[in-house]
Symmetry: C2
Subunit: 428 residues, 2 copies
């Protein structure tokens, strides 16, 4: 039997303990599949005294993850601490500089420093792997980087924040407003310490930026992701969208166009009977579209101890088997600058607004829309008992800047009550 | 730039030409992703004169695929000829014996000779890869062998014959009988020369046996797959199943139990609102269940030039990148004998029958079912205008042998008209 692959594990939270459990319970299975033993040599976490539902007595303890990363008796540094700066970054850099491969679940770290870290890895002859950073247990990074590597990718999409999808589906099923379900999610422990990472779309945006880099051979450019969270989605929008056969999802879309790279993580309408539309609760979905393969849809648990540890271990197993694929699927120095598209691909839009119930109100809005060059597919004025008429418009395909232009001119009509809502209807 | 990876391509049908197109149009992309050029050196097909929608003038021509396999100027033998014996087998053996890796789309070959070929490959220090053999463009083999390799797999399932799924969904949507839709499919060119490969479940059974070998670390045992085709599924069954919230699919299921390995490819009922239930037309789906990850669902095109060539190329790219994973995910000599389970896991069953409309008929049937130890979940006698009453029964979970026993005793009741239909309701 060849020499074992020796792991240094930084982070003993839910995911770290999941990794420990797999290594301990599946030692024979892992050795059979990789041809060599996989061993944890040393671990690191903030608080040594915490009770952790796993026997760690066989592992050396390092209080400093950088010291763990530098140990000469490990081959792979497994980083499941989190955080896009500070210890996680320092330790990852130390691991690469001292000749270790890195397996990380840290989407924020790679979204912010992916290019620099990938370059550092290649200069050191090492690689960074990050299956667990995107879509939990779904082998999405592998499917894209390896399984579809014969394709020029056209578009990648994903519902990749389980908490947002839980909130949106729970609002629909229970008929509850956003604030109530947000509070439920908080009490269930579904939200990050900074909830805006979830509901602001930042966490999912991190993931999208990593998928886009691989798909299009471009440097990670998280800063160019158009981000919009779910905080403004009302139960009324969810109901009206459902009436028309749609569901609202926090959907990430990255596509390469003649105008540059589009990346957005925004609430969108998708057909209710599509795989994306039918995704319930915390489950994630990644959609990969290539020129030869067409559309591949991957669905599975987006978080949790078992699924995330499964993804971490798939990277560890690949390393044990000798896989040496560059971090983003090709050498970091060959990744192109991603020129952000100045404008997004046109799409149908959902527009909801409340109008004063007086003659000519609807005509004024329709005129503004027409003057913006937007044609209307469907328009519906709902019954109402007061002086405010709820109006719903579905446009034909229109440029987002035309939609924005029309919205900016609504106020001047003097017939609008409150703010209008505009949501993209993604074609899938 | 390192030396090119040189391919010998045997088979210039739809898939082979798809491979040629990707290699020719994506040369730069492939080199960027693998770090080396990928080149076709020589090709082989039965008829050289046929017009083939691709420029083959740069490739050497071999009329004999075995001669192609033996050429000293190729590194990888790509077999997309088909057939489980004869030339495909001879050429694959010749390729391995002369030191080439093999990429094949040939499920029949591997289902029948997978263990022997995997052993031959390992003795020669070579590997066989077969992503294109299972579920077309879906990277299912990779997801299972690599992406979920940290899991003890519990169950794998799949709808993996697009023609059968086309027939079943078309029967439902158009309200047409099996024979009519079968004839449509034949005229559309959806059926193999021997249609029983499709509608008899053999092709899908081949694929299931390959997934099972990887999932459970057992030798391929296609002969142990319980096979039943879709020829007996009536439009009436499709309608009645839909009434109760189910759809009928030709579903493959492999699971390891305390009683041995279960493998079956049979028509089953699945919930209409599940991902499997919602699968329409020729699209394939593979469901992978592991102890850590839970359930992963993969969906995509199961056939066609682009998708199948995409899968072939993912194997070629892996080889170009230096991947050396054994054929079935671990060395062939370490694969266990698969002991077939003597009996299948209990499941709810759908039973449809026609009874003589006379007093006590239903009671007699219910008595037989009760005496077989089966409890009834729902029973429905449909309205009828003649002397024959259609009856539908959904049982609680029951052992298949108990169901078979009850069916065998129905005739003796003297109240049955024709043959009863019994279908498993798979829990998903």
């Amino acid at each position: 039997m060849p020499a074992p692959l020796r792991l240094g594990l930084a982070g003993l939270g839910t995911v770290g303990i999941g990794v420990v459990k797999i290594v301990q319970t599946h030692a024979a299975l892992l050795a059979a599949r990789t041809g060599r033993p996989i061993e944890i040599v040393a671990v690191s976490a903030r608080d040594r005294s915490r009770n952790r539902d796993a026997d760690l007595s066989g592992y050396a303890w390092e209080s400093d993850p950088v010291a763990l990363a530098r140990r000469s008796d490990i081959d792979v540094f497994v980083e499941v601490m989190g955080g896009h700066d500070g210890a996680a970054k320092d330790a990852t850099e130390a691991a690469l500089a001292t000749g270790k491969d890195v397996v990380t679940a840290n989407k924020a770290l790679l979204a912010h420093h992916g290019q620099a870290l990938a370059l550092a890895a290649e200069q050191a002859g090492r690689i960074i792997r990050f299956e667990a950073a995107v879509a939990g247990g779904i082998p999405a990074i592998k499917a894209l980087t390896e399984g579809l590597a014969g394709n020029r990718m056209k578009r990648v999409m994903g519902v990749m924040n389980g908490t947002c999808n839980y909130i949106l589906t729970r609002m629909e099923s229970a008929g509850l407003p956003y604030e109530t379900v947000f509070e439920e999610a908080r009490q269930l422990g579904y939200l990050e310490a900074d909830p805006n990472l979830d509901v602001g779309g930042i966490d999912a945006g991190h993931k999208l930026s990593l998928l886009a880099a691989i798909a299009f051979g471009t440097k990670v450019s998280f800063d160019a992701v158009e981000l919009e969270g779910i905080g403004k989605i009302s139960i009324e929008d969810i109901r009206l969208a459902a009436d028309m056969g749609y569901r609202i999802k926090l959907l990430g879309v990255a596509q390469m166009t003649g105008r540059g790279l589009e990346q957005r993580m925004t609430p969108c309408l998708v057909p209710a009977d599509s795989p994306l539309g039918q995704l319930q609760g915390g489950t994630n979905m990644v959609v990969l579209e290539g020129d030869s393969v067409g559309q591949i849809v991957l669905r599975g648990p987006g978080a949790g101890q078992g699924p995330t540890a499964s993804a971490v271990m798939s990277d560890v197993i690949d390393l044990a088997r000798g896989s040496r694929i560059p971090t983003f699927g090709q050498p970091a120095a060959t990744l192109a600058e991603a020129t952000p598209a100045a404008s997004a691909t046109p799409a149908a839009h959902y527009l909801r607004m409340t109008l004063l119930d007086k003659p000519g109100a609807l005509a004024k809005i329709a005129t503004v829309i027409g003057e913006a060059g937007i044609s209307i597919d469907r328009m519906h004025q709902y019954g109402h008992s007061d002086a405010h008429a709820p109006v719903l418009i579905v446009t034909h395909r229109a440029a987002p800047q035309d939609i924005a232009h029309a919205l900016s001119r609504f106020a001047a009509t003097g017939v609008l009550v409150g703010e209008p809502v505009a949501l993209r209807i993604e074609e899938i």
